[in-house]
Amino acid sequence: MNSADQPLLKLKNITKRFKSLTAVNGINLEVSAGEKLVIIGPSGSGKSTLLRAINLLEEIEEGAIIFEGREVGYVMSKGKRHLGHPRAISALRAEIGMVFQHFHLFPHMTVLGNVMEGPLTVQGKSADEARSIATDMLVKVGLSDKRDVFPATLSGGQKQRVAIARALAMRPKLMLFDEPTSALDPELVGEVFDTIHTLADEGMTMIIVTHHMGFARELADRVIFMESGNFLAQGTPEELFSAGQDNERIRGFLNRLL
């Protein structure tokens, strides 16, 4: 059912409102398997809201989310749209990894425990199986020596790499990164980027929200500039960063960052 030319994720006219504020305004987007998409834009432009809408942490008012060709998340009943069955929503989230700006590691579990948790609790794998998956993921992010410590003792960069490993342990088909390095000291940004880069090289499909233009330039197949809930421009990094020079808004934004 997943034909080669079918996008992994398709957003149709997604709209999210907070009271009178439209955070995401009729967004259309297609992400093909293996694509690396970077979303940039000023604060409050709706980037996080868009990512959160994709894995249903935010309930949208309008539009459709199509993942692997099937519409997900919402059902119609009595002429109104509702979030679908909790099981179905959890099942979708299990296929989409998400990494947060502030890590949100589980502080009461060891590093290994954090990474095991998905396979163990969500996928119902045996402890041995979950442990072996988690160990592999920790090797991948270069933290197998920290497996038995609690998150409180880790540096920010290490925490974020554990968070990535925790998401990866679910073997997601799509990874969402919401400013994964914004809470890090500058000297720790590199290790997290390297980890994401390795993932990208392995062919992981990902949507990354970031303010680091260098990273966007290096990694992205496509960069989208978002403002006030709309996509203002998109293209390859070269296109956007050069064409962006013609767009006053984008130029202003980029100049402030670079």
Binding site: N55, P86, S90, R93, F100, P107, T121, Q123
Partner: protein, 327 residues
């Protein structure tokens, strides 16, 4: 004159004693402060021969005993009483006086010790019942509290409304009233409960309500990002609560829950009003039987021992619950 009269009566064989005069004389000596002289005189009254009137002998020895007791010679006073008891084992005056004197003979701590030994079995039985009530409530109320807390934060309105009501009602009325209602009130609705069942239900509901509010606060104090991260790896709400949110509340819960359980130990005393014989009731019964304050003091000591032990245990658990934040 009386002396002459007595002399005449008693005849020549034995010089009979003028008891009245003797008692009068000894009273005079006592009045002059010559207690030794008075005692000598009283000592001269011989034990009655068979069939003879014993009143004077008993009076003399008891009077001597009183003087000796006043002179702070309780053992000699006891000896005087014993002379009476040898002849009249049932003489209640002598017996009571001996009992009172023996109390004086023993040092104070000795009395307390013997009271303690006397009271301890029933107090220990009461304390066990108190402990059982505490443990049952400690088992029931965290579960009840968790259910109430989860219900309270539920988005299903009737559920959260019901849990709000439970908290409102049980925190807003006296525990004593709740116990009365359950034990004395429910029978009129056709539900008759044994005292123990009524006590556990009353304490359990009351403490569930208090713990429910505490647990709700603790759950809501956990960073919202934790729930999102749990959901993001595919957990359902229930899984996230069970695996991620609730376990993180343990450390925060320990101090207030520990306080509640210490209060619980003391609150169990209230069930003594619904025919439960626990520590408070046992002490009260002893106090009313013997009018002896040692029973109450002992109950206080046992309550203190219980609260101290529980405080210690809670501190240990609190430390362990927070270990992940230190390592």
């Amino acid at each position: 004159m009386a002396l002459l009269f007595l002399w005449a009566l008693s005849g020549p064989c034995l010089a009979a004693i003028d008891y009245d005069g003797l008692f009068r004389q000894s009273s005079d000596l006592m009045a002059q402060g010559d207690l030794g002289g008075a005692l000598d005189l009283l000592g001269k009254v011989p034990p009655p021969a068979a069939g003879e009137e014993a009143g004077a002998f008993v009076s003399s020895r008891m009077q001597a005993a009183r003087i000796l007791a006043a002179q702070k010679e309780p053992d000699k006073a006891v000896a005087a009483c014993r002379e009476v008891l040898k002849l009249f084992p049932d003489n209640s005056e002598a017996r009571n006086f001996v009992a009172a004197l023996e109390q004086q003979l023993k040092p104070g701590w000795h009395t307390v010790l013997s009271d303690t030994l006397r009271f301890l079995p029933s107090l220990a039985k009461g304390a066990l019942m108190t402990l059982l009530l505490v443990l049952c409530t400690m088992l029931v109320s965290p579960l009840g509290g968790l259910l109430i807390a989860l219900g309270r934060i539920s988005t299903v309105r009737p559920v959260s409304g019901f849990c709000w009501f439970i908290i409102w009602f049980f925190r807003g009325t006296p525990l004593l009233l709740q116990l009365f209602f359950i034990y004395y009130g429910l029978p009129s609705l056709g539900i008759t409960l044994a005292p123990f069942t009524a006590a556990v239900i009353g304490l359990g509901l009351n403490y569930s309500a208090y713990l429910g509010e505490i647990i709700r606060g603790a759950i809501q104090s956990i960073d919202h990002g934790q729930m999102e991260a749990a959901k993001a790896i595919g957990m359902t709400y229930g899984q996230a609560m069970r695996r991620v949110i609730v376990p993180q509340t343990y450390k925060r819960l320990m101090p207030p829950v520990g306080n509640e359980f210490i209060a619980l130990i003391k609150d169990t005393a209230l069930v003594s009003t619904i025919a439960m014989v626990e520590l408070m009731r046992a002490a009260d019964q002893l106090f009313n039987t013997y009018f002896n304050i040692t029973a109450l003091a002992l109950a206080a000591v046992i309550y203190l021992v219980l609260t101290t032990i529980f405080t210690f245990i809670f501190e240990k658990i609190e430390y362990r619950a927070g270990i992940y934040e230190q390592r």
